[in-house]
Symmetry: C2
Subunit: 204 residues, 2 copies
């Protein structure tokens, strides 16, 4: 067997090159640390390839402006200034997505999540980004705020060459079935188990 | 119970603040993707906090200059130019560590790995970095190229406030026992299972 050949070659009518470069739907799930961190690490790689990065954070958080946002947006400005890397957009649900004027009902997370997904759908159709990170999107899926079948169908039939990463616990089995790559981050040991709280630089 | 309080508070004589800010020994292990990616994502966060980042890659690779190196070194230069973030050093074993003049025996990975660990030991003693990433260091440990007990003792007794992340499969149980945080990245589904090879932006 030639070195570096995969063991199983599927009968899918694709050349190795087509298969190699196919756009991936990736899921980072499980109870352990590293789901979002690894997704933002992928954004680093993608930026370096000149990809147009789009991050969509679907859950409110007290520590809302995390270090990755600062750094990735800085890299986006570097792209504008010098042409290095690719452009970066970072959108977060917070008290309303940046593209809407509605910052109304603070409590209506369900509507905000659905609006976020609609915008992602529009961007997938327009092929706005080369890498989309839907951070913590498993929760709106698990809570019924978006229709899982519609999400899976939209992702499966997205046009062009768009990589998508979805992070969060409790990923729906239909999403896992549709994904090309699933990593489960398992919590083997965590400082909070022994009474530590999160700390800057590590958790945000 | 006040919000955000951990369930178990250990009887270790530390205040919450001391416990919160204690330096962490973190291990990313398992057969799945994301071990190194999540470590480099942590480096993003650390850079944003102004930390002095040191990356030490212990295994040769055909795809040796990965995107993360380019981007993190670029952030290091940004720090020099503008004072933003922190300094970044990226060292790789490759055909000899950058701090040695010996680029000799291409085949002597064991000696190179041992030399890499000695340098890390010196830097831990000197408190050169705030975050050290020992990428794929589990392999020299598993292969007996470094003494596991000595590694664990050195890490456990490191002075000051230095975070350490070790990545790689087959982490030694003694390392896991000493670690504060262990995440196991499990491979649930991977494109190579269905005949795809790695692709740029995703794997490197």
């Amino acid at each position: 067997m030639p070195q570096g050949q995969p063991l199983n070659v599927p009968d899918d009518g694709l050349t190795t090159r087509q298969r190699r470069n196919r756009p991936l739907l990736m899921v980072h799930t499980g109870d352990g640390k590293g789901k979002s961190t690894a997704a933002f690490g992928l954004a680093l790689r993608g930026w370096n390839q000149g990809w147009r990065i789009g991050v969509f954070q679907f859950v409110k958080s007290a520590k809302w402006r995390i270090g990755e946002q600062t750094v990735l947006e800085r890299l986006g400005r570097l792209h504008e200034e010098t042409g290095e890397g690719g452009p970066v957009q970072w959108h977060k649900m917070g008290s309303g997505w940046s593209w809407t004027r509605k910052h109304g009902e603070a409590g209506d997370h369900a509507a905000a999540a659905a609006e976020g997904w609609r915008e992602v759908t529009r961007r997938l159709a327009a092929q706005t980004h080369d890498l989309l990170i839907l951070d913590e999107f498993t929760y709106p899926m698990a809570w019924g705020w978006v229709d899982v079948d519609e999400v899976v169908e939209t992702l499966t039939n997205r046009p062009g060459h768009q990589h998508v990463v979805i992070t969060g616990r409790r990923a729906d089995p239909r999403l896992l079935a549709a994904a090309d790559l699933v990593t489960e981050m398992g919590n083997v040991k965590h400082p909070m188990d022994t009474g530590s709280k999160g700390q800057k630089g590590i958790e945000w």
